[in-house]
């Protein structure tokens, strides 16, 4: 219990640190144009990149504003995943892919909409992907890839089912529905594999053929859940209708 609360305290402290870093960075979002960053660059904009890369699970070093080997490696990995030439340099394309590009098309001072909003993009799926990826990560971190996609598919099947709330957030945050939501693990940064599994599930792949429940048969669960018709087992999870 005490270890639990001390790690929580640590987490709160870390969070405060991050918060300070972020709020310090807000001013820079307004600057007109982003400069190119490379090995050796320092400054607030480096922190912005580090923070974003960390949010998305590419970077696990300090947010210190110094473009060092770890930042460079994270940038390369990010570029490789996003189809940007892998050079470890944060130029226009990388800034844009990070969603941090603030310059407009030209040098003029036109009032343009926010950087990552365009008329027809309207809403982006990345929201849904991130939310689903967090749940997959928290519920099925140790599961094989197939088991991760299957957990994502169950959540999406619930959204389509009249028995459950009709939005993704409604299903995920339904009181008592997921253990990882009740204990807060759902807020951990998802691994790249969990994000990929979320994308596959949202693209429609359902290894469970319509399952609405999953549970770990090696843990104590209610008798009622065992009354559900079982579709299959993947890793440590049983999937049921």
């Amino acid at each position: 219990m005490s270890r639990h609360s001390s790690t929580r305290l640590l987490r709160v402290l870390c969070f405060c640190l991050v918060l300070v870093t972020v709020s310090a960075g807000v001013g820079d979002f307004i600057s007109a144009q982003r400069r190119t960053l490379y090995w050796g660059s320092t400054g607030q904009d480096v922190k912005d990149v580090q923070y974003r890369l960390r949010q998305w699970g590419y970077y696990d070093g300090l947010i210190d504003g110094i473009f060092g080997p770890r930042t460079s490696a994270a940038v390369r990995q990010f570029q490789a995943r996003n189809g940007i030439p892998v050079d470890g340099i944060v130029g226009t394309a990388t800034w844009q892919a990070l969603g941090l590009w603030t310059g407009g098309g030209g040098a003029g001072t036109q009032t343009s909409p926010p950087a990552n909003y365009t008329a027809s993009a309207g809403v982006s799926r990345s929201n849904d992907v991130q939310l689903l990826a967090r749940l997959i990560h928290a519920e099925a971190q140790a599961e094989p890839y197939l088991g991760k996609v299957a957990v994502g598919a169950v959540v999406l099947n619930r959204v389509q089912s009249p028995q459950f709330p009709n939005t993704l957030a409604g299903v995920i945050y339904q009181p008592g529905a997921f253990e990882s939501v009740s204990n807060g693990r759902v807020n951990l940064t998802p691994s790249a594999e969990s994000v990929k599994a979320a994308v596959d599930a949202i693209n429609g792949w359902d290894p469970t053929y319509g399952a609405l429940f999953f549970w770990n048969p090696y843990k104590r669960v209610s008798a009622w859940i065992w009354s559900r018709p079982i579709v299959r087992q993947i890793g440590q999870h049983v999937f049921g209708k």
């Binding site: 993009a121 309207g122 982006s124 009249p162 008592g176 429609g204 009622w224 299959r232």
Partner: protein, 453 residues
Amino acid sequence: MKDRSRIVVGVLAALWVATALWGFNQYGARAQLNIHLNNRYQQEFEDLVSSVENIEIALGKSLVSGSMRNNIIHLSEVARHAEMGQYRLGNLPLPQRLRNRTATFLAQVSDFATVMAKKNASGGLLSESDRNTLSRLHTEAGVLGTKLLEISDENRRGISWARLQDRAEDELDEASDDLTGKFVNIDKQMMEYPTLIYDGPFSDSVIGRTPKSLDGPEVSRDEARDRARTVLRSADIEFSDLRDAGTVDGRIKAYSFEGVRGGTSQANNPVTIEVSVRKGIVTWFTGTRPVETARMERDEAIERAKAFLERIGYKGMEATYSSIEFNIATIPFVAVVDGVRVYPDMVKVQVALDNGDILGLDAVGYIMNHIDDREMRKPKLSEDEARERVNSELDVKTTRLAVIPSFSDEDTLCYEFRGKYGADDYIVYINALTGEEERILKVIDLPSGEFTM
């Protein structure tokens, strides 16, 4: 010596007092948080009761009303209150088994009322059976409302929602006289109602859907394994022997096989492939692996996917939109019958953009919807007649005939008009038989590909 022990006692006493104060403080904070949470739940519950009462009232009005135009308003109101009710029920800390049926009821009421309002709006009168269903739902909403009110009365004496949440599912039974027992009773009551079948997404007919293309003999596991091998070879996947991985019993019953990818670049990544028990069709397979770089254009990936589909017997399929994520292209193909795109018959293929490998196939949509020798109906409207029904503000770029999925058993033949309104792309579907506007999709253009909403 005496002084020293006095100091120790003093310090200990001070520590004790400090701890007690801290503990008391924590207790107070916790209690406050509990009250706050309980109040939120209480609000959701009371709002749920109002929603159900409002559903009952609006349903009653829709039965009495003689004006079609007013009826649309009443029915929309039913839908709105039912949707809110479903949302509120979802926010309550109830075990899933206690809300299954009630949630389904609310979703279906909302859905059914929407379908009826649409019917009225397009000039159709409600049939005798529609009115009977509305009347049935009216009674059921009334019963639900009364039961919830009973709980609400009990609630005034103060019910702890947190306690309800903590209760293990096993302890739920109707015998208990408290809140839990009352919810158990409601759920039992709702379970006795007959199924509701209509043309909406939450209809019982949609939930219990069975595959349309699997009427055929069962195949043995060995035959299924042979089929799996053939398909994997057609995808140029090198693999170890396929292990038996059990049978899957979902919407489709299927044999599951597992192997390991061979070859140099893809060693050790697992391959999973499943084959339907009836007719022995591959439902899906995946041999996914990390793809570090993209060396291939989207069009080339589409060509490779199409060639693969031809090899395994999906002839004349057409690629629709596609998306690229993690350097993997996901490309849905749809069947084309007599020049008409049949969107429900969809097969998805994944292609690695580094060397063009086929990484996966998902044919579940196709198997669920495909009908052999689909009889294509002749449109009653000409293309020009249909186009007149499209809002003239939409700058139409392309037109084609397409079959789009419908919630009822029959798919809908439509003219598909894609065009621009302002900066945005839209797709409008006009029913080729009735001229009704069936659906409007907004096209969302993301770096990874196009999506519709």
